[in-house]
């Protein structure tokens, strides 16, 4: 029985039980949210008067497929004075190429503002 969304791995969480975990059959990625679910939550957020929360969920949907290490590295790259304009542009291009267009836009916008406010790596 399941009416709920499937995990990022495609697995139906309703079928995940303590027994299946004990038998070593479950990985943390079987308990990770699916991009489509984040898109659904974005629609709900929009309907409840918060388009910015919706945009966040849509950026998250793009990141859901990326490995943890990559997400952590992308975060680090956006912190103050960690990256040059070219590095931020490279990351934006990589993100765009993998379909993460909203995150790519965030990186490009950051590059522009960081340049004006002295937040690029020198």
């Amino acid at each position: 029985m399941s009416a709920g969304p499937v995990a990022a791995s495609g697995r139906d969480p309703a079928g995940i039980t303590v027994e299946s975990i004990r038998s070593g059959d479950v990985d943390i990625t079987d308990l990770r949210i699916h991009p489509a679910t984040l898109e659904h939550q974005a629609v709900v957020a929009e309907e409840h008067g918060n388009p910015q929360l919706a945009e966040n969920f849509r950026r998250a949907a793009e990141l859901a497929a990326l490995p943890d290490e990559q997400v952590l590295a992308l975060y680090e790259a956006l912190r103050p004075r960690r990256s040059s304009a070219a590095e931020l542009e490279d990351l934006a291009a990589q993100l765009a190429a993998s379909g993460a267009v909203r995150n790519a836009a965030l990186f490009r916008e950051a590059a522009q503002v960081y340049a004006r406010r002295g937040l690029l790596r020198t």
Binding site: G4, L31, T37, G49, D68, V71, L78, L106
Partner: protein, 747 residues
């Protein structure tokens, strides 16, 4: 001029607790001003034809700092901005308070207001109006509360026991942190297990540096994040090693793993870091809140937080803390309303700061109620701590409001603590993280704080954390370990929390889980307050939790307590006779004495009181005779009845609760010779003196002056419920038609 010491009245006042607090003269240059600084900008918004913002709060695009830039690009609903910016500030302030204007309308307009505009509107609200607006504007209908669970030694067993205790007390979020950064993964695991023992659906976070916190979230070791700090000036923001873009990305990173998060801000932070740019605390916080919305965070903890005492040091500062919370609500975000770091040494003052929010109700009344003792709080002492749990529960009951907590009785908490300790022991052993001695475990179950656990080994959490990190252990492994070591229910509960990430419903605004794992949020449990008779009311079961504090006593409880002291010292001799001996003094006792009431409020038994009275009479050569007056419970009449039966014309009246007087047969009932009215503090010596003086009255000699003993106790608070019950018992034993009867008292 000669130096003169202050007069006594001032030396005395200077010693009060509140004078340990720091109070600052307003100084806008340092950011030490609550609501309005000359440097705060005039609200303005200019939108170009291409739809981009070219001026925000009197600042031109070219001069935008990172906050302005991000808010201008992402934070405002430009479709409603023209309408919203045109609404008068007083009009909008009134709309916020008016129950006839729905929350949705406030939220719609606030979305188009710049930080300075919304700040100006909210600054107009007086304290009671802030409360009304808060009742209407918070996102979630059902109020809630969050606890800190930490200790000085990162002791996993004590953390688990205290997390279980916090869950039993009703906290729906538990936040831990570390004195030693390396201990973080162990703390997260121990607190999660403990919380799962206490209740299903308790959210758990471990507050550490941003990147490590995210990593723990990704591995399922925590179920929400909160320590994502925003600041109101660019300088402080960047000093915090982030930008609005990195914070926006971080926000999405949490959501991408299905982990709830909120950001942290709070007035006074910029002043504390010496970079307030001459602006008021409230304006800078308005920028933070606008930015929180802009980056897509679902909620904010603010209301000073670590800088609450800075805001509290200036005029109107405490009011501005509450106004910050309201601003979060107006921006349609979850409000975790401070009452977190301790902002005063004074119990009066910290209560004053919290009470309006407790009464109005918020998504989380405290963004960190220290459920552990002050000394164990690794965030620093909280506004409310383990020392205050009973006070808080009583305040909820006094006002009939839901502050998110409930009474947990001793047997329940003892059992939960035992199970939490055993579960962590079993899981750590099973996963090869640590072994714990029996002595350690016993101490942790019983402990009121880490000082009670000398057996704790400081290296244990560090080693356990290293193993967790090196082996890549996740919460899935913890679930398996719980199950294999016999903690199936807790395994199910923790698995339930992991599955909730897949559904994502708890990513929505102001989400908590109830104990049935139902998500309560802006979406599923929207606040529908629209004036009296609407909005959240505790259900019958919840109201009973609020009302039934463990200290309450019924008349039946008191009656059983009295029966424990029952003795065979009284026997009825027969109808009371009128005496003729001039040395005969009658002691009239109330109807319940020797039937239902055996102990007076001082703790002396009634028999002991009578023995003292008679001994005092004997010292004066008089003879005491005990008569039970059955037809009245009024002490004056009891004393007068006794006096009229006495050969000497002098009687003593004694109620079972211990109040006593001396009466004379020719006086009116309400007149008397001596009254010992404060029964709880009348001791054996004083009853003896009362007997002596009654004897002297009988002989016509001069009585010794007796003073009611001095007390600064809240004597009525301590004893009045008891008095009501004892009087009720007396009334039940009273029969207006039954004459007085003589009692023999064994001596």
């Amino acid at each position: 001029m000669t130096e003169r010491a202050p007069i006594g009245r001032f030396r005395f006042m200077d010693r009060s607790r509140v004078n340990l607090d720091g109070f600052a003269v307003e100084d806008p240059a340092l950011g030490l001003v609550a609501f309005a600084s000359a440097q705060d900008p005039e609200p303005s918004l200019v939108i170009e034809r291409d739809g981009h913002v070219s001026e925000l709060d009197s600042k031109a695009e070219a001069d935008f700092d990172v906050l302005d830039e991000f808010i201008a690009r992402h934070g405002l609903d430009l479709g409603v901005a023209a309408e919203a910016m045109a609404v008068g500030e007083v009009s909008f302030a009134r709309m916020m308070v008016d129950p006839g204007v729905p929350r949705a309308e406030i939220v719609r307009l606030a979305a188009g207001m710049t930080p300075a505009k919304l700040a100006r509107c909210i600054a107009l609200l007086r304290p009671v109006e802030l409360g009304l607006a808060m009742a209407k504007l918070r996102a979630r209908r059902t109020p809630s509360n969050q606890a800190h669970v930490t200790n000085r030694s990162d002791d996993p067993l004590l953390l688990a026991a205290d997390a279980a205790t916090a869950a039993a007390l009703g906290f729906r979020e538990v936040e831990t942190t570390v004195p030693v950064l390396g201990d973080a993964p162990s703390n997260a695991v121990a607190v999660s297990i403990g919380a799962a023992v206490g209740s299903p659906g308790v959210l758990v976070q471990c507050s550490v540096e941003e990147a490590l916190e995210l990593e723990m979230g990704m591995r399922g070791l925590v179920s929400y994040a909160e320590t994502v700090s925003l600041y109101g000036t660019e300088q402080v923001f960047v000093d915090g090693d982030d930008t609005p873009w990195s914070k926006a990305f971080l926000t999405s990173a949490y959501a991408s793993r299905g982990v709830k998060m909120r950001v942290t801000s709070g007035g006074g932070a910029e002043a504390l870091m010496g970079a307030a740019e001459g602006a008021s605390m409230f304006y800078l916080e308005a920028r933070c809140v606008a930015l929180a919305r802009a980056i897509g965070a679902q909620g904010v903890q603010n209301g000073g937080i670590d800088s609450a005492a800075v805001a509290g040091s200036v005029p109107g500062g405490v009011r501005s803390l509450m106004a910050e919370n309201l601003m979060v609500m107006a921006r349609n975000l979850e409000a975790c309303t401070g009452n977190d770091a301790l902002m005063s040494e004074s119990d009066v003052r910290r209560t004053s700061r919290t009470l309006p929010i407790l009464l109005a109700g918020s998504d989380y009344i405290c963004s960190g109620f220290g459920s552990i003792q002050r000394y164990d709080n690794m965030f620093g002492p909280s506004q409310w701590n383990a020392e205050d749990v009973d006070d808080y529960l009583v305040m909820q009951r006094d006002w009939g409001v839901d502050g998110g907590l409930r009474t947990a009785d001793e047997p329940l908490v003892a059992a939960l603590r035992r199970r939490a300790v055993d579960a962590v022991r079993a899981v750590y052993r099973h996963l090869g993280l640590a072994d714990f001695t029996d002595e350690w475990a016993e101490q942790a179950v019983d402990a009121a704080g880490s000082k009670d656990v000398p057996a704790a080994e400081l290296m244990t959490p560090l080693i356990a954390s290293r193993v967790i990190r090196e082996t890549g252990l996740t919460m899935v492994d913890v679930v398996a370990a719980l199950d294999e070591t016999g903690y199936e229910e807790e395994a199910e509960r923790m698995l339930g929390m992991l599955k909730a990430r897949v559904a994502g419903d708890y990513l929505q605004t102001a989400a908590i889980f109830d104990e049935a794992m139902t998500v309560l949020s802006l979406v599923t449990d929207p606040n529908d307050y629209a004036g009296p008779g609407t909005g959240y009311v505790p259900g019958a079961e919840r109201q009973a939790e609020i009302d039934a504090i463990r200290q309450q006593r019924s008349v039946d409880d008191l009656r059983s307590e009295q029966q424990l002291a029952r003795s065979g010292a009284f026997s009825v001799v027969g109808p009371a006779q009128v005496g003729t001996d001039p040395r005969d003094v009658v002691i009239g006792v109330s109807p319940a004495v020797g039937r239902e009431i055996w102990v007076s409020m001082s703790g002396l038994t009634v028999v002991d009181v009578l023995r003292e009275l008679m001994a005092g009479l004997e010292e004066e050569g008089c003879r005491g005779r005990v008569v039970r007056v059955n037809h009245t419970i009024d002490l004056g009449l009891i004393g007068l009845t006794a006096a009229r039966l006495a050969g000497s014309g002098i009687g003593i009246g004694l109620q079972g609760k211990g109040t006593a007087l001396i009466h004379r047969r020719d006086l009116t009932p309400l007149a008397n010779l001596e009254l010992y009215s404060v029964a709880p503090v009348v001791d054996a010596r004083l009853y003896r003196l009362l007997g002596v003086n009654a004897g002297r009255h009988a002989k016509g000699s001069t009585p010794e002056p007796a003073r009611n003993p001095y007390t600064d106790e809240a004597i009525e608070a301590r004893y009045h419920t008891r008095v009501v019950a004892l009087v009720g018992i007396e009334r039940a034993c009273c029969d207006p038609h039954e004459p007085p009867e003589e009692l023999a008292v064994d001596r």
